[in-house]
Symmetry: C2
Subunit: 184 residues, 2 copies
């Protein structure tokens, strides 16, 4: 299919250096970035639409504040000059950005979502996309989570955070697949 | 404080009969409704603002379709005639409703959120409220989760779904407390 035939946009969220800051804790799915690169390559070779979303925190204490090196996009997800980038300052890719209008104007109702992190910006963006009427596919092994603490201060592993967050999205907000499903 | 002094709105989400349908699986926090009733009583006796959000599914197969008995609000969360109710058809209380405008017009920037379910409509509404600029407090023991399956078809207990969903919201989107903290 050419771009005019496939309107499914690959939406790449927050694949930025600052999310490796130790402040965020240990992460699962170390191959997420490699998978994102594979998907980007597939989309680009077919001339299907690619959209990038980058986080610029409004808090100077955040590694993703635009004055910090952490705001930089990782090599695996560098946008091409022809690909639109939407800058957000909250978790949802659809609040304070032109993303919804950009997709709607192009009749792009189907989204494949990848990026970081599963529990924060990816989950929030998938939820809102679905509630706005988009058909969403989440690529589980092209996203990842960090360790968390529960409300009693007990540690929850990144794997458990990831597992529950993806399960909480599945069926209710999106279809869940893995990278290889989309490459085949 | 009187209502004019306390602008913190108690937002009660989807406390509806249909969420007890066996279709949704086993639930944790059986005392969530009792806690919601306690908070409603506290807010009403102080004349603080209360807002209800009810789900009317657009799918006739859902127990929460408006033609089904399950759409009914549980006794513990019946609105008073003076309290506004916003009807939604997606997970977010802020999409397709007048809730954001109603709160903003009244300068109600602080929300205390309770209701069902932690992983679906409560999580989505808390995330979007925070991203829209509201200060949100989630009352953990006044919400609850259902069992889920992970992407491999393995069961995840309602307790684990709840624990991770609340931990994924905490600090990033809201402050988390328990009912007694607000009653004291």
């Amino acid at each position: 299919m050419t771009q005019s035939e496939n309107k499914t946009a690959l939406v790449v969220i927050d694949v930025q250096q600052g999310l490796d800051n130790p402040h965020f804790g240990r992460r699962n799915n170390p191959h997420a970035e490699k998978n994102i690169a594979l998907l980007l390559s597939r989309w680009r070779s077919a001339e299907w639409p690619v959209v990038h979303v980058h986080h610029h925190s409004s808090s100077v204490a955040s590694p993703l504040h635009p004055t910090h090196a952490g705001v930089a996009v990782k090599p695996e997800a560098q946008p091409l000059p022809t690909e639109p980038c939407f800058i957000k300052s909250v978790n949802s890719a659809f609040i304070g950005t032109g993303l919804e209008a950009w997709l709607t104007e192009r009749s792009m109702n189907n989204l494949v979502v990848v990026g970081l992190t599963a529990e924060h910006c990816v989950s929030t963006s998938v939820r809102m996309a679905a509630n706005l009427g988009f058909q969403v596919t989440l690529v589980a092994d092209a996203t990842a989570s960090h360790d968390k603490q529960d409300i009693n201060g007990e540690s929850i592993s990144a794997e458990a955070v990831f597992r529950v967050n993806v399960a909480s999205l599945a069926d209710e907000f999106c279809t869940v697949c893995v990278t290889q499903d989309l490459l085949d």
